[in-house]
Amino acid sequence: MDANDTTTSPAHAAAPSPTPPPARLSLWKRVLAHPLFWPLLALGLLLLGNGVLNPGFLSLEWRDGRLYGNLVDIGNRAAPLVLVSLGMTLVIAVRGLDISVGAVLAIAAMVAAWTIGRATAGGGDGLMPLWLAVVAALGVSALCGLWNGLLVVKAGMQPIIATLILMVAGRGVAQLIGDGQILTIYYAPYSFIGSGFLLGLPFSLFLVVVVFVGLKVLLERTALGLFVRAIGHNPVAAHVAGVRARAITLALYVFCSFTAGLAGLLVSSNVASADANNAGQLLELDAILAVALGGTALAGGRFSLAGSLLGALIIQTLTTTIYAIGVPPQVNLVVKALLVAAVLLLQSPEFRGQMRALVTRPASGGRA
């Protein structure tokens, strides 16, 4: 659009200093074209809108050696979704999908609660039950991921169906662990994971930062990121080029379930209980939405971890906003649905082509 104007209208070209506008334009274009521009803008506008409506919204307060405020709260609440979105991003990047993350979260939560129940009943003291619970929950969720990955890679099933099986059966397994009951956790050290503070900030934020930075380093300092993109763009070509596509895909499914397990620890620790039916309900949808909002192509290949992080924050901010301005919380679902539809349409080349035709046709008609 901008480029069109400068090239077609002679008035602009005849301006006294022809060089500065293109430079400014190109900077502006570069900002616009940056993949994180739109997610950042959306998040910024949401936060700004909240700040205008409720002046106290953006304020942070240091009290009793801890940081308090809505922003910290949003970060803390969004942590499970951010973790799962990171795992989901990589699975989607290799043309996969994992709709079992909600069920895996429930399983991990139940395993952790069950382990703690057993360990503390057996007279385990100190931090031993905590470590046992963390290892058991993460181990079981990694196994769930291995199961998903094997069905996709070895059995050759479509990812949505392969993970559908665990999504259906997983909640049943979670209920089996708790014998159909909600397990309550009576063990103080465990609550540190989901609601503890470290250096004045919620511990969950540190967990998110560690996972995010770890992934960034792994994907950008090694060839792994390139391999993931190659598999996503064309699995066969990647395989022919010597990329171990199947092993990498399998590992990414394991990692995705692992992040769901981490989220399960956070959620169950935060509410000091594990609910097989309701923990992580609709998490898979929120995670897919976060990934789509962040600019990752749902058809694979192009992905952005930072984008997914922003997407998850947008979703959580939206939820907080809707609660804060007193709209019935049911609106949340409708807003999310319309958001997904809008993002999908913007990603669709056919739609963009149609819109471009719609915009340029009247303009050129007027000129002619």
């Binding site: 169906i161 609106v331 669709s348």
Partner: protein, 341 residues
């Protein structure tokens, strides 16, 4: 096609060809499973083999059967519709609200609900077809939207006590010998029959199979691919709304949390019924047996009394896995046979 077809055993060709079709083979396994499970139930539990137990399978799963028929068509084209459970919930809430709070006659409300369901399905179809969006994401958004719209109409469960509605709900059609069917079950059987005719006996049905086989080839053959795809999602939306109507006859209430997770049961029923998930092969009648097998699992768990309800989820998951693997096996073998011939 292969060496066996040209051999003198042409009379048995029909059977052979059927056995080589992965969908038909899978259907045969499903029917055998249904018979075996019924027999096992008869041996294990007293009174299991009474006709009313089997008719109750249809009565209790009427809405699932209706939804699954619509889902069969979507999966036959290689797509998927995750919005069906939410559309059912929306239909029940809207119907109940119109009848109870706005004084509509149930028939008028039913007409509106069916029209809305069809329109909603068609809209998703347009998004899938026109803008090349993946069906699962589009229908996922549709699921959010319909569930959210349902809660916007009413957060609470609305009971329906309109005389006409209650009369239809209590209607029992006697089949002789003391057994009977509900209106919802009869409706479901009609939907299955219509679906079977639509799939096998019409241009629309043949186009659906062709699209599932290869969308490009179907388009090159000059088949109306675009309009058929939209119609398929509209049909699924219509079936969901109709299932919502039959749900209100079954439960006599409208609630935004009705039919949670029903889309998974519907997909499971279609897959267990022998429809290949990649599209292009399968039977509407198979879906009937898929629903019956799912219902039979629940009935057996109820009859047993000692097993907890979550075993249903696990059993459905295991069956889903088994049938997916079976399909892979059959289709791989079919592909292998085609390659060697």
């Amino acid at each position: 096609m292969s060496a066996q077809d040209s051999m003198p055993v042409a009379r048995r060709g029909g059977l052979l060809r059927m056995l080589r079709d992965p969908g038909a083979l899978s259907l045969a396994v499903t029917v055998a499973l249904f018979v075996a499970m019924s027999a096992a139930g008869g041996v294990l539990y007293d009174g299991f083999l009474s006709p009313q137990v089997f008719l109750n399978l249809l009565i209790d799963n009427a809405f699932l059967l209706i939804v699954a028929v619509g889902m069969t068509f979507v999966i036959l084209t290689g797509g998927i519709d995750l919005s069906v459970g939410a559309v059912i919930a929306f239909s029940t809430v809207l119907l109940a609200s119109l009848v109870q709070h706005h004084g509509w006659h149930p028939l008028a409300a039913i007409a509106l609900v069916l029209a809305l369901g069809t329109g909603f399905g068609a809209l998703m179809g347009v998004l899938v077809q026109r803008y090349r969006l993946q069906p699962f994401v589009v229908t996922l958004a549709g699921m959010f939207l319909a569930r959210g719209a349902a809660t916007l109409v009413s957060v609470d469960s609305i009971g329906i006590d309109h005389a006409f509605h209650v009369a239809v709900a209590n209607l029992r059609i006697p089949l002789g010998g003391g057994v009977s069917l509900s209106a919802g079950a009869v409706l479901a059987l009609l939907v299955v029959a219509t679906g079977a005719v639509l799939a096998r006996g019409t241009r629309f049905g043949r186009t659906v199979y062709a699209i599932g086989g290869s969308e490009q080839s179907a388009a090159l053959m000059g088949l109306p691919v675009a309009s058929t795809l939209v119609k398929v999602y509209a049909l699924s939306g219509f079936c969901s709304a109709l299932a919502g109507v039959s749900y209100t006859f079954y439960m006599l209430s409208g609630y935004s949390l009705h039919a949670m997770g029903l889309e998974l049961d519907a997909i499971a029923a279609v897959v267990i019924g022998g429809t290949v998930l990649a599209g292009g092969s399968g039977y509407v009648l198979g879906t009937l047996f898929g629903v019956l097998v799912l219902g039979l699992i629940q009935t057996m768990i109820v009859f047993d009394g000692t097993l907890s309800s979550w075993w249903t989820r696990i059993a459905i998951g295991v069956l889903l896995l088994a049938f997916c693997l079976l399909q892979r096996l059959f289709s791989r073998r079919a592909a292998g046979a085609g390659a060697t011939a």
